[in-house]
């Protein structure tokens, strides 16, 4: 029941926040904060409950399940379940929900109630995506997180918000259609061979597909996840959406929504279509590696602070893609680690960007310069998370990136070596960010006030988590899928990829 609660609490909280805003302006954010807090406590409680189980080397994988009838005629049920990977992603989502409420505290001034409604419903949709094990339900949540996010960008975004929100919607919706068709195709193929009409994940795991059908259906899923993750060349909605979204929108987009794509690859693509995924893995890994390098390269090219950070996401999520398709314990552990660490460190960079924009009303780094002497605390935070982004050991991203590349190296050392070049490219963009924004002389005569208490608490908690992930990542690594429990055909994937 706790799983359903994780979804319904933000929904209810969102409605309450919306209504509260009508009775008493200013109450909405408190409702949102309390809701996100309850969600976080619940998620952490669930994690602590199952931490000991996850630490066991041979745990079965599933830690909790809820199932209820929904549309029995079509074999659709309200089926939620949680394993390590969904659990850590839910915890991440709940934490970032708090962060995004905190960073909207003064930024959002118009239609506040409706804002928090959308924010919390996006969160609810994302949590649903991470928990749903019925493909119909999964698709329902997939769409549910999309629409409120569209409003977040379109209503509270920055100057170019119309273009960005429509682009986001077209990419997400267009690719979502492919997935819907693929889901239906999968269900019907399964129905034809077994006579059972079901959307249930566990039933469909046993579906027998002809090789060509498997490939086409997998590609349908892949398109949707590739757009969301994003995988180059489907990434171009992301810089616009991230840049134009309000701070909270950027945090949730980068921290949570992108993870739903990578999660989809992990949960659906490989287990449902092991053979096709095995054949497709080299392509996906090359795409992932391309994203790692291309994202880092383009990040350096930007002059807009948020746009730069947005492109770093393309680079960082490339690691997750590579890690998932390399499919060995190291790369998978690294992929999960990377998802968590990226959520925190990139989220924090967006918070920093939001704070800067709220004070200076610009995101153009050419207009910043020399802010170190003006806002030393904020600059210190910016420096810290830029360094986290470049993957310094001792911080979360490094563990993820190193494990992914090391795992990849055991199957394809050439591709791993090429991808490792990002170690240089990431330093180049991260230092460019620090230089352009914080170093130099304060030529533009900025006079800004430094971090407030609320902002300090938000960013400090993210600093602490980044260091924790970097120095003691084991709780998260334990949550990574155990390859020993995976369908045997996935092992084939590994051998196929082994080009050595």
């Amino acid at each position: 029941m706790i799983l359903a609660a994780l979804i319904f609490i933000p929904m209810a909280g969102g409605l309450l926040a919306w209504m509260a805003d009508r009775w008493y302006p200013g109450a909405a954010k408190w409702f949102a904060l309390v809701t996100a807090g309850i969600e976080f406590v619940l998620a952490i409680w669930l994690w602590l409950q199952s931490a000991s189980a996850m630490a066991l080397p041979a745990h079965g994988g599933w830690l909790g399940e809820t199932r209820a009838e929904w549309i029995p005629r079509f074999g659709v049920s309200f089926h939620l379940a949680v394993d390590g990977i969904s659990l850590v992603l839910v915890v991440l989502t709940a934490f970032l929900a708090i962060v995004s409420v905190a960073c909207s505290w003064t930024e959002i001034q118009k239609r506040v109630g409706f804002f928090y409604f959308n924010l919390l419903w996006t969160v609810a949709g994302s949590v649903g995506v991470f928990l749903a094990l019925d493909l119909f339900l999964f698709f329902f949540f997939w769409e549910l997180m999309l629409v409120p996010m569209y409003f977040l960008i379109g209503i509270w975004g920055h100057e170019n918000r119309q273009y960005a929100s429509i682009k986001f919607f077209i990419f997400a919706q267009g690719s979502g259609m492919f997935m819907l068709v693929a889901i239906l195709a999968l269900v019907f193929v399964h129905y034809r061979s077994t006579g059972v009409l079901t959307f249930d994940y566990f039933d469909l795991l046993n579906a027998t597909l002809s090789p060509s059908a498997e490939l086409w259906i997998m590609l349908g899923f892949f398109i949707a996840f590739a757009v969301k993750t994003p995988i180059v060349p489907f990434h171009t909605w992301l810089p616009d959406a991230h840049t134009e979204a309000p701070t909270a929108g950027s945090v949730i987009l980068a921290g949570v929504l992108l993870k739903t794509g990578a999660y989809g690859l992990l949960r659906f693509i490989v287990p449902l279509f092991p053979e096709a995924a095995a054949h497709f893995a080299p392509v996906a890994m090359v795409l992932g590696a391309t994203g790692i390098l291309y994202g880092a390269f383009l990040a350096f090219a930007q002059t807009d602070f948020k746009r730069l950070v947005a492109y770093t996401s393309v680079s960082h999520l490339g690691f997750a893609v590579v890690g998932i398709f390399a499919w060995n314990p190291w790369s998978l552990g690294g992929a999960v680690m990377q998802m968590m660490a990226h959520g925190i460190s990139t989220g924090a960079l967006f918070v920093v960007a939001g704070i800067l924009q709220e004070r200076t009303h610009t995101r153009d780094m050419q207009r910043y310069e020399g802010l170190w002497s003006v806002v030393p605390r904020l600059a210190g935070m910016g420096l810290f998370f830029a360094i986290a982004a470049l993957g310094l050991p001792g911080m979360g991203n490094f563990v993820g990136e190193f494990l992914v590349l090391m795992g990849l190296s055991t199957s394809s050392s050439v591709l791993a070596s090429v991808a490792t070049v990002v170690f240089v490219a990431s330093v180049v963009y991260a230092l460019a960010l620090v230089q352009k924004t914080f170093h130099g002389e304060n030529k533009h005569g900025w006079q800004l006030h430094d971090l407030s208490g609320r902002e300090m608490v938000t960013l400090f908690s993210m600093v602490a988590i980044t260091l924790w992930l970097g120095l003691y990542p084991q709780p998260v690594l334990n949550a990574a899928p155990n390859t020993a429990n995976s369908p045997p055909a996935i092992a084939v994937a590994h051998h196929e990829v082994n080009v050595e």
Partner: protein
């Protein structure tokens, strides 16, 4: 004492945390106490542990201390584990003791800086990272220290962030060393893929067991690690960052870019010597890289006017000696030179700092002169440092360490006359360039525009200078050549961790002859410097008027054109590409495809395809309406004909249906 090992890196890191979090609320005095005090405690612990280690060695001369398991995934389980053996003990002693002296110096040297707390925070972070680097038990933990010191180097080179030039130098340092680090990371992947661990000792054992000497994998792995070492230790072709790194405050140059951080590459190769022993080709490459670097940097040092840049090139050159030693298998000689170099080079930098400070940030040696009287203590310490660097016979530490390298470059298994000759030539250059500085700065006439203020450096500055000067003299007396007492305290100790060096190419009197040649190089070069730069400067001036020589000097001055080459090969193309692709060509394709489709649709559908259907529908209705109303024309004849035709039709259908 040994169980306190973890305190050595932890104390400076705690200092860093205190200063980073509370630095803005602390006064100068508390900042200095925390900054220097934490390192002092760390050095104290290191010394006590060192005494303990030597007095009562742990079994196998190795002490391991595990804090926790860092990562554990499917057999890959690097830990936060400290590893103390003879090699890491020497390193950690050098690092902490010199760090403490430089911190003490900095408390006074930096006292007028507005960012006092930030300076000490970064310095403490550096010391902590460096201790992690030298104490790490596995390569991943080592990498944490390795990248940590790289970060601190970046932060401290760019410490005076207001000047964009400092920022550029700082970024250059981080990026260039990171190129090497990337190679090193790929090397780690390779080692793990084939040997299944990154714990250094098991790794070396497995490598020796599984890989035959000269095997492809061993060569590749060693070459990749060499890439990392070359980046950090500023060896060819990644040496370009170090001269620019002088943009940082002088104590930083002394600590990181002379005494400790830049020797990390030497340490890495010594630490993984078993792997390099399996790859003779790479080991030869180490020696050749060292030999080339020491010569190239020596020439460049001759052509610099900035006192700190002379010292920077000198550091590159001396690191070249260490690489040369590593390459010929003279492990203990390399580490010995690392230690003495740490003493005399940090001494030189700190003395140069006093000179620069007293002349109001003047760096140009041609605008100094006659400072011997005005800065007597600094003069003597700088002179001692220079003598040690130039390997002045018998009385300096540099003499013992450098001549040991020269001797073994000739005589050891990997040695040959060419490598010795490079080292010998470098020795001449060394004496020339450093005594050029001595004579120009402390002798001759005062060429300064503004006379130096008479403020005498205080005790916090003078004391470290004197201590380091003492080390620069006596530090060599623990290891002497066979004909000079044959003391081998250092190599005996270090050989608990590193293999001994075999002397193979040796005639009867080779050692003495070579030693005399080295002495001649040292004394001759000092004499030559005296003649050229003090006695007959006019002669040198005339030489520079020859265009060919002037352009050669220019070429050396700019570090043999490496910067220009890299600018042309890498920096410009990357910048250009980034600028050209700022809007992301993939997005351009989408936008173009989208707008083309839209335009095409508009074109074929100018009058709206669907609307055409509707208007077609109305047209059809209209037509039918006209057609039907045309039948209602009132002519009986037509009605009768229609009825007849209809009846025939119905009958027809009735019959045939």
């Amino acid at each position: 004492m040994l169980p306190l090992l973890w305190l050595i890196p932890t104390l400076p890191l705690a200092g860093f945390l205190l200063l980073a979090l509370g630095g803005s609320h602390l006064g100068h005095r508390s900042i200095a106490v925390i900054g220097a005090g934490s390192v002092a405690l760390s050095a104290l612990v290191a010394i006590l542990i060192g005494i303990d280690f030597i007095a009562a060695p742990p079994p196998g001369f190795v002490f391991r201390q595990e804090a926790w398991t860092w990562i554990a995934v499917a057999g890959f389980s690097p830990g936060i584990v400290f590893y103390l053996d003879a090699l890491s003990l020497v390193m950690v002693l050098v690092v902490t003791v010199i760090s403490f002296l430089i911190h003490l110096y900095s408390t006074e040297f930096m006292s007028r800086d507005e960012d006092y707390a930030r300076f000490f925070a970064y310095m403490n972070l550096f010391v902590g990272s460096m201790c992690i680097l030298v104490l790490a038990d596995n390569l991943l933990f080592l990498y944490m220290g390795w990248e940590g010191v790289g970060l601190c180097s970046y932060l401290l080179i760019g410490f005076w962030y207001r000047d964009p030039a400092n920022g550029r130098a700082a970024r250059k340092a981080f990026i260039v060393t990171r190129v090497g680090d990337t190679a090193m990371a790929i090397g780690f992947f390779l080692l793990f893929t084939h040997l299944g661990t990154l714990d250094i000792q098991p790794l070396m054992q497995r490598a020796t067991q599984q890989w035959p000497e000269g095997s492809e994998l061993a060569v590749l792995a060693a070459a990749l690690l060499l890439g990392g070492a070359a980046g950090k230790s500023a060896q060819l072709p990644l040496q370009t960052w170090l001269p620019d790194a002088m943009a940082g405050p002088t104590p930083v140059s002394a600590l990181m870019h002379a005494a400790t951080m830049v020797t990390a590459g030497v340490y890495l190769i010594a630490r993984t010597h078993a792997l390099f022993a399996l790859a003779p080709a790479v080991q030869l490459a180490v020696a050749v890289v060292g030999a080339l670097t020491l010569l190239l940097a020596g020439f460049s040092a001759l052509a610099q006017n900035d006192i700190k840049r002379v010292l920077a090139y000198s550091t590159i050159s001396q690191l070249g000696y260490m690489f040369l030693a590593l390459g010929v298998g003279a492990w203990s000689a390399a580490i010995f030179h690392l230690v003495t170099h740490a003493f005399f080079k940090s001494l030189l930098f700190l003395s140069a700092g006093v000179v620069i400070m007293s002349l109001h940030e003047e760096h140009d040696i041609f605008r100094m002169g006659a400072l011997r009287k005005k800065l007597p203590v600094t003069f003597w310490t700088f002179l001692i440092g220079s003598a040690s660097l130039a390997a002045l016979p018998l009385v300096t530490a540099g003499f013992y360490s450098k001549d040991l390298i020269l001797w073994q470059a000739w005589s050891s298994t990997g040695g040959n006359p060419w490598l010795w000759a490079a080292g010998w030539g470098g020795a001449i250059l060394t004496g020339l360039y450093i005594f050029r500085v001595v004579f120009l700065v402390f002798f001759g006439e005062a060429r300064t525009v503004a006379p130096p203020e008479t403020c005498r450096p205080g005790l916090c500055i003078t004391l470290p200078l004197i201590v380091l000067a003492a080390f620069s003299v006596v530090g060599g007396w623990i290891e002497t050549p066979s004909f000079l007492g044959n003391l081998t305290l250092f190599s005996d100790f270090i050989q608990h961790a590193l293999p001994p060096t075999q002397v193979v190419h040796s005639g009867k009197n080779d050692e003495i002859i070579l030693e005399l040649l080295a002495v001649a190089a040292s004394l001759g070069s000092i004499a030559l410097a005296y003649l050229l730069f003090l006695r007959y400067p006019a002669f040198l001036h005339e030489l520079t008027l020859v265009p060919a020589l002037a352009s050669l000097r220019n070429f050396w001055h700019f570090g043999w054109g490496f910067d220009h080459l890299y600018e042309f090969l890498f920096v410009r193309p990357y910048l250009w590409l980034a600028h050209a692709d700022q809007r992301d060509v993939i997005d351009d394709i989408y936008r173009m495809a989208f707008s083309c489709t839209l335009r095409w649709l508009q074109k074929i559908n100018r009058h709206d395809l669907i609307d055409n259907i509707y208007s077609g529908l109305t047209g059809l209705c209209l037509f039918l309406h006209r057609a039907l109303s045309a039948t209602q024309n009132g002519q009986v004849r037509r009605y009768a004909a229609a009825i007849a035709a209809g009846s025939i039709g119905i009958i027809f259908m009735g019959v045939f249906a």
